[in-house]
Structure formats: C-alpha cells, structure tokens
Symmetry: C2
Subunit: 199 residues, 2 copies
C-alpha cells in the first residue's frame, strides 16, 4: 500500500518538523539534534535520518516551517487590506499579535535565528538573511504605496520606517520573553503610530 505509507510518512515528517520548530525556538537551530528529537518524539534516530538525511536539512525544514507560520499569522490576515497605510497597519497589528501569542514557545523565531546566524556563515545564515530581507521588502513596498497614496508625508523615508519597525518588534519580543511584560503590547502599538507619525 504505497499510498498509505506516503501519507503516513508525510504525517511523521510534519510531526518531526513541528517539534523541531519548538525546540529551535527555545534552544536555537544549532540546539536541534537528531538524537534530542528522537527522544522527544519517541522515535529512532534512523527514523528521523530517513526523513531528513542530515541535521542541516532538518534545520532548513524547521526554518521553512517557521516562515510558513509567520506568513499565516502575520501576512495572510493583512493580505486582503487595500495596499498602503491600511495594509501596513494591519501587518503591524498581526505582527504584534503574533509575538504576543503562542506560536513559538521561545518567542520570535526570526529574531532568534537572526541573532544565532548573524556572526556565523553557511547556508542557514543565507536563508535567514534572505527571509528577513524579503520581509523588509514587503514592509518597504507598503510604506512606498502609502506615500504614493498621500497617506504618509511625502518626505517619509521608507528605509527609516522599516528599520524602526524591525527594531520595535525585536524590543517587543525581549520585553515579552525576557521580562514577561505584557504592557509592552500596547506600547508597541503606540510606537507603530509614533514611527508612522500618526500621533
């Protein structure tokens, strides 16, 4: 019954990846080991190696899955808003909700991965850099559209706004994760409006 076994393999793979994302969000992608996952999932190491081949492939799969979660929680809820300021505000809103939520036990996956690989070379560095660069591009596009729509002042610098939003979210992650400070959520909302000079 090859069909059933392919479906089962997909379920197994998905459960390995889901656990890998959880582990990596706390201990980092470098903290992912096949032995540890095998223990956590009560599987054999051979069963995991059979699915992924190597630790590097497993790390890549975890990063892909984290991207997909981010896309689903942050981009999709905003995707149907009209381009420009409205969509930008919707993105910031779902971004803040995503960080305040429980998607990853260790907090913002991308912040952690960015810190982990900023001074390390290799394929994961490139994948993290590419993912974050694409996200910055998405934000920049909305800021530019908002300027074209005259929803933001003509002298707004899109790169400045993107830079400030990115830092804001990292600060929110720190306040929530390290200090458990939920007041950071309304502060982050307010800071978005300050960055966009809406208040």
């Amino acid at each position: 019954m090859p069909r059933r076994s392919a479906a089962e393999a997909a379920v197994t793979r998905a459960s390995i990846v889901a656990r890998a994302v959880e582990v990596a969000s706390v201990d980092g992608l470098e903290g992912l080991t096949i032995g540890r996952l095998a223990d956590d999932l009560d599987m054999s190491k051979a069963g995991i190696v059979g699915q992924f081949g190597s630790k590097a492939n497993l790390q890549r799969a975890a990063l892909d899955e984290a991207s997909e979660i981010f896309r689903r929680e942050v981009w999709l809820p905003a995707a149907n808003e009209p381009p420009g300021l409205q969509r930008l505000l919707a993105i910031c809103d779902s971004w803040i909700r995503h960080l305040a939520g429980t998607a990853f036990p260790g907090g913002c996956f991308w912040t952690s991965a960015s810190i982990e690989y900023d001074a390390r070379g290799g394929p994961l560095h490139a994948q993290v850099q590419q993912g974050l660069r694409r996200w910055r591009g998405t934000l920049r596009r909305e800021v530019k559209t908002a300027i074209e729509n005259r929803e933001l002042p003509a002298d707004t610098d899109p790169d400045q706004v993107v830079f400030e939003l990115q830092g804001l979210v990292m600060g929110l992650n720190q306040a929530l994760q390290l200090f458990g400070d939920r007041r950071a959520v309304p502060r982050a909302r307010r800071a978005v409006r300050r960055i966009l000079e809406l208040e």
Copy 2:
C-alpha cells in the same frame, strides 16, 4: 614566589575570560565549552577548570566581563554629562558607537544573551534579566530627569521611551550584524531624536 604566581594567575584568568567573551558573542554563552577554550588558548582543560571550577562559573565570568565592557564603552563616556537630556543623548550616542564598533565579534552581547536565555531558566537567565533591568532603570532615570528639567514634554512616558530605545538598538544590531548595513548607524541616530520628539 607566591606574589608573582598570583599575578600570573590573574593574567591567565583575564586571557581566558577575554577569549570566552569573544566565543560567546558568536556562538552564545551556551556555546562556550572548556574544551573549546582550551584548544583556542593552547591550554590544558585542567588549567581552565582550575581557574573557574565549572562551565557555569566561566559563563558568569564572561557575562561579568561583557558588562564591564559595556559600562566602559557606553556608560562612562556619558557619566560626566549633566543628568537629564544631555546625558541621555550622550548615552544613546555612545551606545550606537559601541554597537557600530568592534567590542564583540558577534555584535551586541546583551541582545544575544537576552535571546539565548529568554526561554531558558537558571542562574544565567537571572543574571541577564538583572543586567538588562538595571540598564533600563538607568535610561528611565535620565528620561525622568529630562522631564523634570523640562527638556522633554511633560506628557512623555519614560517607560515608552525606554522601550523604544531598547528595540531601536536591537534593530541596529541586526542591521549591522546580519546585513552589514552601515547606513543603519545614521538611521539609529535619527530614530533617537524621533523617539525623544526632538525633530
């Protein structure tokens, strides 16, 4: 000659700690191992264990040293400024210079440590939390003084300002470390003035 040997031991200890800070800034405090340091410094593992006793003590010593570097590079250059806005701006200036500089090969030590320990318990979590809380307290004090001096508007929320400054610096660290984007330095300076509503 017990005196000479104590001095020698202090030099050895300092060189171990200096290397530990470098390693931890790239690979994290969890990435510090006695074996790795022994290799890097061409010492025996027993020589390092003799100085620190345990990996946890070595991690603590590295974190203490990173605090001292931060204090020397960020706080001290601003300490003689008059309290309030002037000192706050001097702190932000030296903070940005510190991050743009070469103190740590892996970028902001505290950002890395904060990410590393935010979802992990234990004594290092407490030490990182305490260090960052103290720093937030220092910033808050200067903001409050600036409000009392009428250098900042009376309705300024010190916690909001501290929250935004902290995130800004994390964003600067990401832009510099992950993207090698030096334009982030003037952007960070500009963002400080925007956060303080000075422009």
